[in-house]
């Protein structure tokens, strides 16, 4: 058995340039280490707590970003589904045949300018719409159920929906025109509020991250006061010393940002799988769309950028007070 495994490993080794890959990985790691090497040593004690705090901030920022993009996408999808569509509901009335009511309503609709099509929603579809409330039972035939007419508007000719509603209400007892305006406006208000909330959260997270980096930069400079003085005395400019700190915080921001974004992506995927889906009844799916995930790649880049700029400005300001 062992010989067989060894033989398989040999074949795999021959097929794949394992040694070459190992060398390339080692060279990349060494290059990365060289890029991260600075004259000023990173503060070991504060290294992981700082990573953790910024990673948490980036996690929250990623979730806020994911929610913002998803809400914007879903709201647009909902609105676009409702554009150009109105519904006529015909409620049963005593001593009036439902079929007569429906025929009259359809006749009026087809004669109205600006209406592209009007069709009766099949009884089976209406039953499906009622299923969440009534369950999957066969309704007795003598129970009167409102009937629906699906009306498509002609985008080329604007229909006068207010006049149409009055005509229908007058000519067909129990007929009501629903242009979904109330639903759409509430939906838009809800989406706008949620987007505003997410953006406010993003703003606060960025502000908190800046404060953390300012505090950490000052602490790092205080811890390395002796080294900074030596660098000054051998002729280093403020820009060189500030670059040392900004380089350290760039890597902290990038690493912590990547950790936060990956954690957020996992949580969003779980939310999509367990609480999202395609949506049921008239509620569309609330899951995060796949197009949202690439935008999370921005989070580590932005975290690194915020960290670099903040560290640079803080360091320059502190160094400016020295001789």
């Amino acid at each position: 058995m062992r010989d067989r495994i060894a033989a398989i490993w040999d074949r795999v080794s021959d097929a794949l340039p394992v040694e070459l890959l190992g060398k390339a990985l080692r060279a990349t790691a060494s290059r990365l280490a060289a890029l991260q090497a600075t004259v000023i040593p990173p503060a070991d004690g504060a290294r992981w707590p700082l990573h953790l705090v910024i990673a948490v901030m980036c996690f929250l920022a990623s979730v806020a970003l994911g929610v913002t993009l998803t809400v914007a996408h879903v709201a647009e999808e909902w609105s676009s589904d409702l554009v150009g569509v109105v519904t006529v509901q015909v409620k049963p009335r005593p001593n009036v045949e439902m079929d007569d009511q429906m025929a009259r309503a359809l006749e009026i609709l087809r004669e109205t300018p600006g209406i592209a099509s009007a069709s009766r929603v099949p009884a089976a579809t209406s039953a499906e719409l009622l299923e969440p409330w009534l369950g999957s039972i066969d309704l007795p035939e003598d129970i009167a159920v409102p009937q629906l007419i699906d009306v498509r508007l002609d985008p080329a000719h604007e229909a006068d929906l207010e006049a149409l509603a009055l005509i229908l209400a007058d000519a067909v007892p129990g007929a009501e025109l629903d242009d979904h305006f109330r639903w759409k406006s509430r939906l838009t208000a809800f989406a706008t509020s949620l987007e505003g909330l997410s953006l406010a959260a993003l703003f606060l997270i960025v502000a908190a991250t800046i404060s953390i980096v300012v505090f950490a930069t000052r602490a790092a400079m205080e811890a390395n006061r002796e080294i900074i003085e030596v660098l000054h005395l051998i002729g280093a400019k403020d820009s060189f010393i500030a670059r040392e700190f900004q380089s350290q915080f760039f890597w902290v921001g990038l690493r912590a940002g990547a950790i936060g974004a990956v954690a957020a992506a996992l949580v969003l995927i779980m939310l999509t799988v367990f609480a999202g889906g395609e949506g049921e009844f008239f509620l569309p799916g609330l899951g995060v769309t796949w197009t949202t995930y690439p935008s999370l790649l921005l989070v580590p880049v932005l975290a690194a950028l915020v960290a670099v700029i903040t560290a640079r400005v803080t360091a320059q300001s502190v160094l400016g007070r020295a001789l």
Partner: protein, 235 residues
């Protein structure tokens, strides 16, 4: 090259640690600054390596008036000055080689342009085998030589050494003095602060400044631009 005129210095609101200090260092001279502990030697050197501004008086270095020199014009001036600190002030997390490279690294030159010169310098000061050692693993004498190498690697016009033999045995002290003499011969102006009078006595032609209670007196003027050791001292 360097001129102090009635210079006074105090730390914060404390008493004056230097009073009416006046002297001039000529280019290419070797100078000793002596005085008991706490007399003001290190404070005078702090003024010379631009770690402090004078409270009063005038300091001119390389033709620049230090009193009014803007902050952003300090670095080019500091690069013309090499400093051997009393407590070495090496960066413990860097190797001896990296420590010596620092003055060149801060100029932004690529490492390839100076690495071989730095290795040669370290070999010259007898640390060819200890280049990758970090300061905590080096002996006092080795640290001293790394500090000297760092101070001279960028070919400064002025070399300031604060008690350079204070942490080494007499034999190593003589060796270090030889090193300074060699640098002086190559044209570097040198100021050595020490309380070891035997070092001053070993040299001839070097200027001797003495400081006590913050007041400086010129004990001996420099006889020439270059100084030499008294015969037999190097045996």
């Amino acid at each position: 090259m360097i001129r102090f005129e009635n210079v006074g210095m105090r730390y914060g609101m404390g008493p004056e640690v230097l009073r009416d200090v006046s002297f001039e260092l000529n280019s290419g001279s070797l100078n000793f600054l002596t005085g008991p502990s706490g007399a003001g030697k290190s404070s005078l050197l702090r003024l010379m390596y631009l770690a402090h501004r004078p409270s009063r008086g005038h300091i001119t270095m390389f033709g620049e008036d230090v009193n009014v020199l803007p902050r952003d014009e300090m670095p080019p001036l500091r690069r013309r000055i090499g400093v051997v600190f009393q407590e070495f002030r090496l960066l413990d997390h860097l190797s001896a080689l990296e420590n010596v490279c620092l003055p060149l690294r801060i100029t932004g030159d690529p490492e390839e342009s100076y690495l071989s010169d730095v290795k040669e310098l370290l070999t010259w000061v007898g640390l060819g085998q200890r280049m990758n050692a970090t300061p905590p693993t080096l002996s006092g004498g080795e640290k001293q030589r790394v500090a000297i190498a760092r101070a001279v690697v960028a070919r400064p016009n002025l070399l300031l050494a604060d008690e350079p033999t204070g942490n080494v045995d007499p034999e190593m002290g003589i060796k270090l003095l030889r090193l300074f003499m060699e640098l002086n011969r190559m044209g570097t102006t040198i100021m050595i602060a020490t309380h070891d009078m035997s070092l001053v006595e070993r040299t001839r032609d070097a200027a001797h400044l003495h400081i006590d209670h913050g007041q400086l007196t010129v004990e001996r003027e420099a006889a020439g631009a270059m100084a030499g050791l008294a015969t037999g001292d190097l045996q």
